[in-house]
Symmetry: C2
Subunit: 235 residues, 2 copies
Amino acid sequence: MTKYQMIADAIQQFIEEKQLKTNDQLPIMTDLMAHFDVSKSTIIKAFEVLEIKGIIYQRRGSGSFVRAPKRPYYINLAHQSGTGKDLQNFSLSQRVIGVTMIQATKEIAENLLLDEGDSVFRVKRVTSIQGLKAVYETSYYNASAVPYLDEDIAQQSIFAYIKSEYQLEHAFSDSYFVLEESSELIAELLELNTGDLVMKYEEIFYSNDGVAFDYSISYYHPKAVRFYSGGVPKS
Amino acid sequence: MTKYQMIADAIQQFIEEKQLKTNDQLPIMTDLMAHFDVSKSTIIKAFEVLEIKGIIYQRRGSGSFVRAPKRPYYINLAHQSGTGKDLQNFSLSQRVIGVTMIQATKEIAENLLLDEGDSVFRVKRVTSIQGLKAVYETSYYNASAVPYLDEDIAQQSIFAYIKSEYQLEHAFSDSYFVLEESSELIAELLELNTGDLVMKYEEIFYSNDGVAFDYSISYYHPKAVRFYSGGVPKS
């Protein structure tokens, strides 16, 4: 975690502890710099993180203010670090169905900016939330960026593994979602009836260098669809 | 439209015309400043807009690069200006069902940061996309921020009206979405069967000063749910 992310977390905690309300003003820049003993640019970056997370907004020339608290138990689409933190009061469990190296189909190749037939790791997992079979996910990892994966790794955080092992860090992503009728397999895994509507959520994750290293397709049980999106303030 | 937004549009057009591809580098800062005859800070702000829209990404110290083109016909959740531009090749039509001043219920008051019983304008509309009854929307406008609305205004862009009439501009928003079974009314308006799943999409729009001026609840026909969310690059 970088310094500005730690500062962002500390400011968020400050807002929670002081029970600050919508439109309450945050301490001024110089006070925050002194308090955390960091530079102005670190505070500015921390503020950017908090803006993107929908925690604060900035008025030019007049400081930073608290935004309304969000409803709990929604997955924030702007969080780049998975759903764990948003759902920290829920009981989550994950079952890995399999990890296999395969050759990229046309669809996989297009999304990972590869050629058809290039090697990718396919990871299949089902995540349960509070006992509900909530998400069936199939992820494809570009094997030239992620040379090794297995079931033990997939049981933990794959993103943490590829960051420590290959210095590959998720920098940005594209997500698409639509509603679709569930296939027989999806229905069985999510304990639905074939044809029931599910949300299909596709994500493509890129590294700092613009390498598309992960293309994932997740099917969400209707009861598990609870998303939050904070419109980023215009500056 | 501000200068940096115009520059952002111009750079986006440049990317499209030159058919730049993923990871192609954009011209360097000094060239763009000279070409558009604007300051460095204007280019930086234009780049921020393009990052949020998922058009480019920036690598510290090495410039700005093109991101993969997005799939067409998805509504971009980061666009703050409505769905018109994303769906510009579609035929859209809107029917206003009614505009009435009412007293805020508990739910409306909580979302608009008002007291129960305060006056709000309620606007009901149905939007069709390519002939499909796509969205049934009920919006509540805080009447102390938006003192007047009628059906003629609702027929056009309410946001354009309140910007020109009351200098009230949408600065940021909170959106929540879940899947729900449609009521009899929703099913009728969207030409579905009662109980069919629809997406309930709630949005709260705030001004620069943090005033929650619009709380809207939209029900999307399953076939109309096509959303894109660009994970904002970490800087």
